[in-house]
Amino acid sequence: MAEGYPKETIRDLIEGKLPWATVKEIMSSRKDPDRFATVVQIEQERVPWSEKILLPLAEHLYVVEKHGAKIVKAFCGHEFGDYRENWKEKALVYVRDTREKMNEIFPGPRACDPGKMHLREFICPGCGELLEVEAVPPGFPLIFDFVPDLD
């Protein structure tokens, strides 16, 4: 596939609705060069707001153009600010730093030692979506996952 797939196929693909045999065929074929434009178009149609999407940053997060600025915006509409600053700084966080909190996810011996590692669950203030889970030792700086080269 050199020229691109129908938009519906790509929509089904990124929504996890394509049967495995078709996914496998797409994976084994040459990549469609217009994928980025197609996905941005699909995402633009899905989001409940009108700012132009520059790129999908992560599940639920986009870099969009707003009043000449490039900002990180959530699907729900919450805005995190300039994409060159870590959106996590403007998020909410729930830190699993005790056995009791860990056990809600990982029972008994499956939990780590909370002294050696805690889970930072970054929550979207707009809708409660879980945006990212950092598994890091206490004291580790927040990780700035990705700064796209947009200039």
């Binding site: 999908p56 599940e59 909410l92 008994g108 002294g115 409660g128 700064v147 080269d149």
Partner: protein
């Protein structure tokens, strides 16, 4: 043509000056069909020879699990073409060839490089990952001139180290790891030297497996060498020389194009962490400490397709089994690329050449001594490369190629065993069913269940019955472990658990190399990490009586990790459940039990967005538990477990989102609290030590740390 060393220098100078392997792809452009046939001939001979070699070995590691690989190299040691298998070694063998050239093997009258010579190596600082992987390298001559090399590698069962097996768990330096072959000539005129065989027979616990593996490697290499000569006959030596170089250059160019097409340019960051808890485990004083090992990782992707990986901030090497040589990191990167951006067309060193990796000297990823322990280098290599997986996945997401996302690799525990087997003979082995773990989740579907390993894209756990032929243990259980992959919209692939009954031997050692204090396989974009590891074992049991009375045995952990079946069913002199996954060689006897599970890897996306139908299927197939279905996925299932209750599920998920918003705090508040904790030094001692050690090695990471937490310049832990 000059000496090999001169040719290597010329090649390096050419690369420096022109930035490519060759400038023109004449063979490809003049007659592409002939060029493709040439490539296919090389590829098929490598693959066919691998399959033949597999049949010569007697080791389940090779025959069943497929831990072998063959590759063809240029005279300068760059890979042209390779078979499937443990591809991680394609570049480590390249390192070894270059090392031999650099060290004047060609001109040294006591060594020399002649037709039919075989050089064996498992010195990781020459080229290798850990001592278990033995490589054989032989030259290809044409009319008296060296025109290439063939390399073959297998993972052997036993290496004669301080503990039985192939990755001695308590090896803290090279001197504990077993036999180290430093690019040593072991065969001449295609005949194995008897003195080499004698050394193996007298210095390892399972010499017959080593020596049959040796013959498998040699046979594979001989087959390839002779086939390559046939190919040269058919295509001509000039064509062979030109086309092999073009295959490398084509791979490099294709890789750059793939990066440009599939990854968004920018700066990507992550970090990885592992624990190696050695304190109070009867280790030598120098190693008697809990180690916390980590590294930040920054990946930059530029607009020309170049990828640079920088591990600045990595902690120093230490006295433990989990350091990593630069060759191992090279190999890890190579096999990572083959799974993401360089899996089609011409797979060879070209892709690797298009990347740059920065490994701080003195760190655990690039020790400043060749004596550092690397027997379980995968302990570092898996998280270090799993981190690359996550970063590449973010780049693929941004460009829309979500079907290519693979968010991490499992960091698997490993079981080593040895002692006296059921035939009364010494034995030792890594039980390498660990090759079949769960992969990280993908961007549009769950991870691969029980069939994934980073180092071998052709993962196979092997049949339990084959293992039982060579170890005095029987598998009384082998099954999928629920919730062993990271939770997420798409979950990490499931791992599996094995339970062994020691049988017909009262002299067995078992060791487990795993991580209990951390989650080494994180998820991305809201996905959780996979769980920490642990072991269950029972020594001095009533199993013999239970069998006689036909009473049930603990064939699996059971539904509750906190109250496993082993604890509920078995009476024993010593019963340990949920015990530290880093267990050094411990004695076991007949009717003792040992159990653990192999992990999956991280999840992708918010678990509350997982299709409830997928959760139900996971419940039906043993991939998840009723507890996780409700508590983590927010899915309400009818009491019979046959369907999801849609309204109740929607309501529970809404409530869970509201609960998140109630319980979470602004990040600014968290940072204020965490900063105070750092200032007061209220951190785990091993973690503090790791930060201090990292700061010593990396002033730039220290500066970044101080800047982030707004700490004074004079701050120290």
């Amino acid at each position: 043509m000059g000496t090999l060393k001169q040719r290597l220098r010329e090649k390096e100078a050419y690369w420096r000056e022109r930035g490519c392997y060759v400038e023109h792809l004449e063979c490809r452009e003049t007659d592409p069909i002939r060029y493709e046939i040439f490539h296919s001939r090389l590829l098929s001979t490598l693959q066919a020879s691998r399959e033949t070699a597999k049949s010569i070995s007697a080791s389940p590691m090779v025959k069943e699990v497929g831990e072998l690989c063959f590759a063809l190299y240029t005279p300068e040691g760059d890979s042209v073409c390779l078979s499937t298998g443990i591809m991680v070694h394609v570049h480590t063998m390249s390192r070894c060839i270059k090392w031999m050239i650099e060290n004047d093997y060609e001109d040294d009258p006591t060594i020399g490089i002649r037709e039919g010579d075989f050089f064996a190596n498992n010195d990781c600082f020459i080229g290798g990952v850990h001592v278990a992987d033995i490589m054989d390298i032989t030259p290809i001559f044409w009319e008296g001139e060296l025109v290439g090399w063939v390399g073959g590698v297998t993972h052997v069962l036993e290496v004669g180290g301080v503990d039985p097996g192939s990755m001695p768990s308590s090896a803290i330096t090279r001197f504990h790891e077993g036999i180290t072959l430093c690019a040593q000539k072991v065969a001449e005129k295609d005949v194995l030297r008897r003195d080499y065989e004698i050394m193996i027979e007298r210095c390892t616990r399972a010499p017959h497996f080593w020596l049959l593996d040796e013959r498998a490697r040699m046979a594979g290499c001989c087959l390839i060498r002779e086939s390559v000569k046939d190919i040269i006959c058919e295509f001509g030596i000039d064509y062979y020389r030109k086309a092999t170089c073009e295959l490398i250059e084509e791979s490099r160019r294709t890789f750059l194009e793939n990066v440009k097409q599939r990854l968004f340019p920018g700066t990507y960051r992550t970090a990885w962490f592992i624990d190696l808890n050695y304190k109070n485990k009867n280790m030598p004083a120098i190693a008697d400490k809990d180690n916390f090992v980590f590294s930040p990782l920054t990946m930059t992707v530029d607009r020309n397709g170049k990828i640079t990986l920088d591990y600045e901030g990595a902690t120093p090497w230490g006295y433990h089994f989990g350091n990593c040589s630069p060759a191992a990191m090279d190999g890890g990167l190579f096999v990572t690329l083959t799974q993401f951006l360089a899996y089609d067309g011409k797979v060879n060193d070209g892709a690797w050449m298009a990347c740059e990796m920065k490994l701080p000297f003195g760190s655990a990823l690039n020790p400043d001594t060749i004596f550092a322990g690397v027997s379980a280098a995968w302990a570092l290599l898996q998280p270090a490369m799993g981190a690359v997986f996550r970063l590449l996945s973010r780049g693929l997401y941004a460009k829309g190629y979500r079907e290519e996302i693979l968010c991490g690799a499992p960091v698997t525990p490993a079981v080593e065993t040895g002692g006296v087997n059921q035939y009364g003979k010494p034995f030792g082995t890594l039980i390498s069913e660990l090759v079949a773990c769960g992969s990280g989740a993908r961007g549009i579907l769950d991870g691969i269940d029980t069939a994934y390993a980073l180092w071998n894209p052709e993962a196979d756990m092997g049949n339990a019955e084959f293992w039982e032929l060579i170890i005095p243990q029987v598998f009384i259980g082998r099954r999928i472990t629920p919730d062993s992959g990271g939770f997420g919209k798409y979950r990490g692939g499931s791992g599996f658990e094995s339970t062994w009954l020691v049988f017909h031997s009262d002299n067995v050692l078992m060791a487990n190399l795993g991580f209990s204090s951390v989650y080494p396989c994180p998820g991305i974009m809201g996905g959780y990490p996979s769980p920490s590891s642990y072991v269950h074992f029972a020594r001095g049991t009533d199993v013999e009586q239970r069998i006689a009375a036909r009473e049930p045995l603990p064939h699996w952990e059971g539904p509750d990790p906190e109250n496993p079946l082993m604890a509920r069913l078995i009476r024993a002199r010593e019963l340990k459940t949920g015990a530290d996954a880093l267990l050094f060689a411990t004695p076991f006897s007949s009717f003792d039990l040992f159990s653990h599970f192999y992990t999956g890897a991280g999840g992708y996306g918010d678990p509350l967005n997982r299709d409830p139908g997928r959760v139900l299927r996971d419940l039906e197939n043993g991939h998840t538990t009723a507890r996780a279905a409700r508590e983590v996925y927010g899915v309400v299932v009818d009491p019979a477990g046959r369907s999801c209750l849609e309204d109740e599920t929607r309501a529970l998920r809404e409530e869970k989102r509201r609960e998140r918003l109630r319980k979470a705090i602004p990040v600014s508040e968290f940072k204020t609290r965490e900063r105070q904790r750092i200032l007061e030094g209220r951190l785990d001692e091993a973690v503090k030590e790791a930060y201090k050690a990292s700061f010593r090695l990396s002033p730039s990471f220290r500066s970044e740390f101080l800047r982030f937490w707004n700490l004074p310049d004079h701050f120290s832990f």
